[in-house]
Amino acid sequence: MRTKYRLGIDAGGTFTDFVLAVDTGEVKLYKSLSTPAGPTKAIENGLALIAADLGVSASEIVSNCDLCINGTTVGLNALIQHKGAKVGLICTAGHEDSIEIRLGHKEDGYRYDPEYPAAVMLVPRYLRKGIRERVISTGAIHTPMVEDDVRAACRHFLAEGVETVAISFVWSVINPAHERRAAEMVRDMMPGTVLTVGSELYPQIREYTRTSTAVTNAYLAPILRKYVAAVDTYFRQLGAKNPVRYFQSNGGLAVGQVMSDRSVYAINSGPASAPQAGLFVCEPFGKKNVITVDMGGTSFDITLVKDGVTNINKNIDFLRYRIGVPMIQVETLGAGGGSIGWIDSMGLLQMGPQSAGASPGPACYGQGGAEPTVSDANLVLGYLNPGGLLGGTFPLDKSKAEAAIRTRIAEPLGLTLERAAYGMFTIVNSNMVNGIRRVSVERGYDPRDFVLVCAGGATGAHITALAREMGIDTVIVPKLASGLCAYGQIISDVKYNYMATSPMRLEDEASAVKIEQLFRQIEAGGIAHLEADGFTHETIDIKRSLDMRYVGQVHECTVDIGNFVIDGQSLDQVKEAFHKRHEELYTYSERHNAVEIVNIEATLFGRVEKPKPQHLDTGTAIRKSLKNGWSKLVPGGGGLKDAIKATRPLIFSADGKAIEAPVYDGSRLGAGDKFAGPAVIEEVTTTIVIEPGWSVEPHASGSYLITRDV
């Protein structure tokens, strides 16, 4: 029988990660440099790498994949660099400027900075065309649509070379008649133009959010369309059996067609798979409360899962644009291996958000970087191997790291080199801890109830320190940590969100019946979509949620409700779910007050079969000679000391004093090889630092379980 694979490709800023799951339970990780100019190029390079490693052709791998999954940054890059398509906006007259007024807000942290520029408009004012029409909050038509205005707008767009059109009218979520008619007219007059209709894309109450989301979608759609066509074609040519699935910011997969139409779902695709991966690696340990942390070269991403449910954000500013659609909540801050240490105008040590990036990189890279970075501090503290990274193939220059820290930090602050390095380590950890607090404490979750999962190449050096600071007792570091997001993608399901708006007070049976009706309606659309993609009744799951609030409140909170029929009898159950959630978030509820709903949302999942999990054999491996003169590691037979490849002085305290600690070769550790910190574990793509007071146990599932000593 032939080998079966599943392939995950996660394109990041610097590297594109490839995870190949083999049906034997083996999971392999590869990395190729990202190629933003021609995104499919990196995929080709990576496949060549895999082909060379396995000794089979790319087409043989692809044609034997049950699924090929792609997390892409093309949408994100277009938005960051403002290289989207030329958009025309059709909106209600009088409200052409809502995306530029931005509710009159200037971002927190920049208020006293007179040079902070205004956000770049994705559609300039001259391409925003107001149409005389108006629906009011009851859904009644106050002003019938003047169709000539739509025609004039189309003519204007044609003359200006507009490639993509967004339509968003006030209250179209309650009565979409005008929007639908305008869409018809645009399709007529501008055939072939990519069209985004606000009430179809994500019909939630909030005109500014909806319009901004529609505009962002329109801005990205032509680009995603092109990208998806290229990738789909490439894989089809390689003999892929199934269409490529793309990873969305909502944490689920989508077929190319959906990605092309609902491109706004693509903007934060990569890190959104971390919660899924975190849950998966925690499953053998029975843990469902998971915080994942992912430290790369320039940024630090945090996600949170409570009781197996991922934190989802809606209505947030993403890269300065208001986005309504649900996105996995990823808190990102400027803290990475390349984050630069500096002394601010108050004389205080700060870390980041500026980063030395990949070039020139940290001082210890020896590529001309003179700024002291987190990696430099970690090297001075003994955490990183002075012999170099990636198994010694990437050399490090410790003297350059020392010089940078000494001149820029230690001397100005009057500290020793070691104390300064530990200070840098402490401050960057403190920044990361504050970030973790934002997704946990600020949302009403006590971090001590969670397991910390380590993702990303640079996180391992900080992981026990972060857990210590947060009061977390259990840490899980998968051996695949540096490619964990790509791994998360290959174990994800297809996921689509559908929404309807119906602001009403939850008072009587009629409101219950209406809610049930709306759910059924939007779910029917989703089911049709999934069935067309080959899913059946058995493999389709539905999750319902309601945006609710107390009458008089303005911000609603999203409440997951079970899959029961909503009627007069179960209405109290719905209300109870809201009271409970409000208590959880804000410490109190107001049971005597009336509750209203704003939006209803159904999430539809097409369940995908998971690849076979990784497996780690028991016992420390020993090296066996082969007949051909080579040698290989064979599990079992050794003692723990066989896995120790060296010892190094490590610094774990503010006084700068070092402790001589063992360095373990991760590839030799077998399941059940328990040991205590202080220690360092070196994997090829990551280094894990175990502080004193923590113990490690490699687990059969391919993760290190690290626990605080009692």
Binding site: G94, H95, D97, S98, E100, I101, L103, G104, H105, K106, E107, D108, G109, Y110, R111, Y112, D113, P114, E115, P117, A118, R125, Y126, R134, I136, S137, H142, W171, V173, I205, R206, E207, Y208, D344, S345, M346, G347, L348, L349, G423, T426, I427, S430, N434, R437, R438, V441, E442, P503, V551, G552, Q553, V554, H555, Y586, T587, Y588, E590, N593, A654
Partner: protein, 579 residues
């Protein structure tokens, strides 16, 4: 515990900032009134036991300076009668408050039986009692005709809520349900802050934390002193005109005299005697106005604390003047009028000291409150319309002013609320919320656009109360900026009844009927530098985007368009005009 460990210092600073952020977030998410939760018209701060402000959030600038004298007045009032579990409420300007609709909650935080810190929140309620909904009464001759005054009063006594006192207060306010909800939100935020500070003391110890916090105050002091030292010694005077906002007393001059000597700065304010109209500013509010002018000049990065102001001394002039009002002067409009003019005067004085470091003025707030009956739910409604005060920002030496981000006293911290959410909460139809052609102050860098907010009541008469000014004198430009077309750069209100439009430029209480409309136009920001130096292509781009009219291009920028379709420029005529 003598020397400060620089690492712990940075960490403590981070904790203080995070604590304030958590308070702010909690307030936003739980509040009832849209002025809180959509508009972010609230602020949070932390004080030590002295009390000195140890962290000023970046929420709403006009609130924060004023929390310093208010906190001190509250602490002084109770003296040693402060106990664990107390909670103090206050809004009265006679005790350092800004305007009485901004209601403050003060929670003393005890640790091991000792008073260590205060967590403080302040927020703009939708109503504070008095004869006119939403507090702004242009007809008030004294403060008694404006609102319910609340001097420092304990609403919790050693952990026990004083429900009788709370009931007295709520009974005097409109839309009780919203007010109760907002009190809960303020209290919750204070508690969130308290919790975080206790955690900090548990971890770092009282002594260590105190040393760090004192050092943070010293650092802010050193930072401000270094900045002032860089300003040439001298006496600089700035004068700004406060236009007649409908009171009939004519225009007033407000003068700020800034004396710089070495690393110290003294700011003296001169203003005319107070008047029986709601634009008098008590000392607490004037503090904010001056500090805001100073901070706009200083442009120091956060965090902010009271140490910043140690080298600054203030003199608001004799009691009984417009900027140092005495009881019973009416005052409700003071956070914008005359505050914006006061800030302008301070800014203009600093401009003389260091012309290169100054931005233009922002459009002055000219806004409205609305009230009436909601037949959809048979409820009374009242609210300030935050969208109606969103003005244009001033241009800076490097870039155009932001559109729609004012008023200056809020510095972009306000948000105006989604129009659908507003139409859902209140029985209104918002016909327009848009930028306005030619409203940007002209300059080499132009000011930001003001906004027009046009409303119609759904099915019942609406009370429409206007406040503010900036309806005759446009936002002051900087470094040679000037505008010819003043008419479109100033604020105004247009009432359209049965097809006839009436333009109003003063503060009034009007009724708007269903079918009729009221449009509140808010001014744009001032420009920076000579408008004739603005690159022609930038002017053309503004024309293309409807920010500048053909006429405006010629009048304000000296750019002549010869083809209205292609917007081709008449180079010769342009050159002639510009020379």
């Amino acid at each position: 515990m003598g020397k400060v460990d620089p690492i712990t210092l940075s960490v403590v600073r981070g904790i203080l900032e995070t604590t304030q952020r958590e308070m702010t977030l909690s307030l936003e998410k739980t509040a009832r009134s849209s002025v809180f939760n959509l508009a972010h018209d609230y602020s949070t701060a932390l004080f030590n036991a002295k009390p000195e402000m140890i962290l000023q959030g970046q929420d709403i600038p006009i609130h924060l300076g004023s929390l310093i004298p208010a906190m001190k007045a509250v602490a002084k009032y109770f003296g040693d009668d402060i106990h664990e579990g107390d909670l103090i409420l206050h809004n009265d300007p006679a005790y350092g408050g800004s305007h009485a609709i901004d209601t403050c909650m003060y929670k003393p935080m005890f640790y091991k039986g000792k008073l260590k810190y205060w967590t403080v929140c302040k927020g703009h309620l939708t109503d504070i009692g008095g004869p006119v909904p939403a507090g702004y009464n242009p007809n008030a001759k004294d403060i008694y005709a404006e609102c319910l005054r609340i001097p420092p009063v304990k609403i919790w006594d050693k952990g026990k809520p004083r429900n009788d006192v709370l009931n007295l207060i709520f009974t005097n306010m409109r839309a009780r349900r919203d007010q109760e909800g907002d009190f809960n939100a303020l209290i919750g935020a204070c508690q969130v802050g308290e919790r975080a500070l206790i955690r900090m003391l548990d971890k770092y110890g009282e002594d260590h934390a105190e040393v760090c916090i004192n050092e943070l105050l010293n650092m802010a002091d050193r930072q401000m002193r270094a900045l002032i030292k860089g300003v040439p010694d001298g006496i600089y005077e700035g004068m700004a005109i406060l236009e007649d906002a409908g009171h009939g007393f004519g225009d007033f001059e407000i003068t700020a005299t800034v004396t710089i000597k070495d690393d110290g700065c003294h700011i003296a304010i001169k203003s005319p005697p107070q008047i029986p109209y709601f634009i008098n500013s008590y000392e607490g509010n004037s503090h904010s106005g001056v500090y805001l002018g100073l901070m706009m000049f200083a442009q120091l990065p956060p965090p902010y604390n009271e140490g910043l102001y140690r080298c600054v001394s203030l003199d608001f002039g004799p009691k009984g003047t417009l900027c140092n009002a005495a009881e019973p002067a009416p005052h409700m409009n003071c956070t914008t009028t005359p505050m914006e003019t006061l800030t302008d005067a301070v800014r203009l004085a600093f401009e003389k000291a260091m012309p290169s470091k100054v931005a233009a003025s922002w459009g002055h707030a000219n806004g409205c409150n609305i009230a009436g009956w909601d037949t959809r739910h048979n409820e009374e409604y009242v609210t300030m319309v935050l969208a109606s005060i969103i003005s244009g920002a001033g241009a800076t030496p490097q870039q155009d002013g932001w559109h729609a981000v004012g008023p200056e006293c809020c510095f972009g911290a306000l948000t105006s609320g989604d129009i659908e959410l507003l139409e859902h909460s209140y029985p209104i139809i918002i016909h327009k919320y848009a930028l306005m052609t030619d409203s940007c102050g002209a300059g080499k860098f132009r000011g930001g656009s003001g906004t027009c907010w046009e409303v119609e009541p759904l099915d019942k008469d609406m009370t429409f109360i206007t406040f503010g000014e900036g309806r005759r004198i446009p936002a002051v430009g900087a470094a040679g900026a000037r505008s010819k077309m003043v008419e479109r750069k100033v604020g105004r209100i247009e009432f359209t009844r049965s097809g006839k439009t009436e333009v109003v430029r003063k503060n009034v209480i009007e009724t708007v009927k269903p079918g009729d409309r009221a449009a509140n136009m808010n001014p744009g920001g001032g420009g920076y530098g000579n408008p004739f130096e603005r690159p022609v292509e930038k002017v053309v781009w503004d024309i293309k985007n409807g920010l500048v009219s053909i006429e405006g291009a010629r009048e304000d920028y000296g750019v002549v368009i010869r083809d209205l379709t292609t917007l081709a420029v008449d180079q010769a005529a342009t050159q002639a005009l510009r020379e």
